[in-house]
């Protein structure tokens, strides 16, 4: 178990190094001479993100599966709100709803709230203890399954289970 933990820790550091190197390469237009500064900058950035509590376990496969889901849903979100904005009758029925979070506090919750804001018809407005307050553009749609699906995706990315809760689904 301990070696497995160590291995996944090394993996996330490796992913971190790759991502920061890619960003440096992009920012400097692939200039080779800039790596004199780039390599120390990448090392420093990795060190800082570990100090700031980089999640030790992240599932790369879950991230890959999440990307098309996110693209499709946020595109639908844009189309949905654009249709309502252009529509002469302005078809909206806004309301606040409360979603009982099952995902643990910290980065997973922040990610969950931010993603919910980009999905069709939902806007995160507050987290109070275990309740995510969501403003919905049209309360005639049932958005609970959608939020549960996002939560499931985020939980898989951070390799964690969701605690069962009564009103969750």
């Amino acid at each position: 178990m301990r070696t497995k933990y160590l291995k996944t820790g090394m993996m996330s550091i490796l992913v971190c190094v790759i991502v920061f190197s890619l960003i440096w390469w992009i920012l400097t237009d692939g200039n080779i001479h800039s790596w004199w500064i780039g390599v120390p900058a990448v090392v420093l950035a990795v060190w800082v993100s570990i100090r700031l509590g980089l999640p030790v376990q992240m599932n790369g496969y879950a991230i890959l599966k999440f990307i098309p889901f996110f693209f499709m849903r946020s595109l639908l979100g844009g189309i949905d709100v654009a249709r309502r904005a252009y529509h002469p009758m302005l078809p909206i029925a806004p309301a606040f709803i409360e979603y009982p979070l099952r995902i643990p506090p910290g980065l997973p919750r922040v990610l969950m709230a931010n993603i919910a804001s980009l999905l069709p018809g939902t806007l995160s407005a507050g987290i109070n203890q275990d309740i995510l307050t969501v403003h919905v553009l049209d309360c005639r749609n049932d958005i609970y399954p959608e939020l549960a699906e996002v939560e499931q995706h985020v939980a898989r990315i951070f390799v964690m289970g969701l605690q069962a809760s009564e009103g969750g689904q």
Partner: protein, 100 residues
Amino acid sequence: MIAVIDLFSVLLLIAGAVFFLAGTLGLLRFPDVYTRLHALTKADNVGLGLIIAGLALQAESWAVAGKLVLIWLLVLLAGASVSYLVANGALKRGIRPWKS
């Protein structure tokens, strides 16, 4: 070949502009702060994504295309975070949501 890429760019840029217009229209037409945030975050995020895609097709190198995508990701993060902060601020001040 270049003409086909140009055509795709034009289509993506026009589609992006349609979404930006929707975002602005929503900002003007929607009744309260919460509904306006819906229009801004979602329509502008898709609009910017389409415009970035249209521009990336014209990029001279992979690094430039990557830079454009990086901009989109940063705007996505900033947009979602700021809309949360604005909605949360309005909620804490007790601003009631508009009801039909």
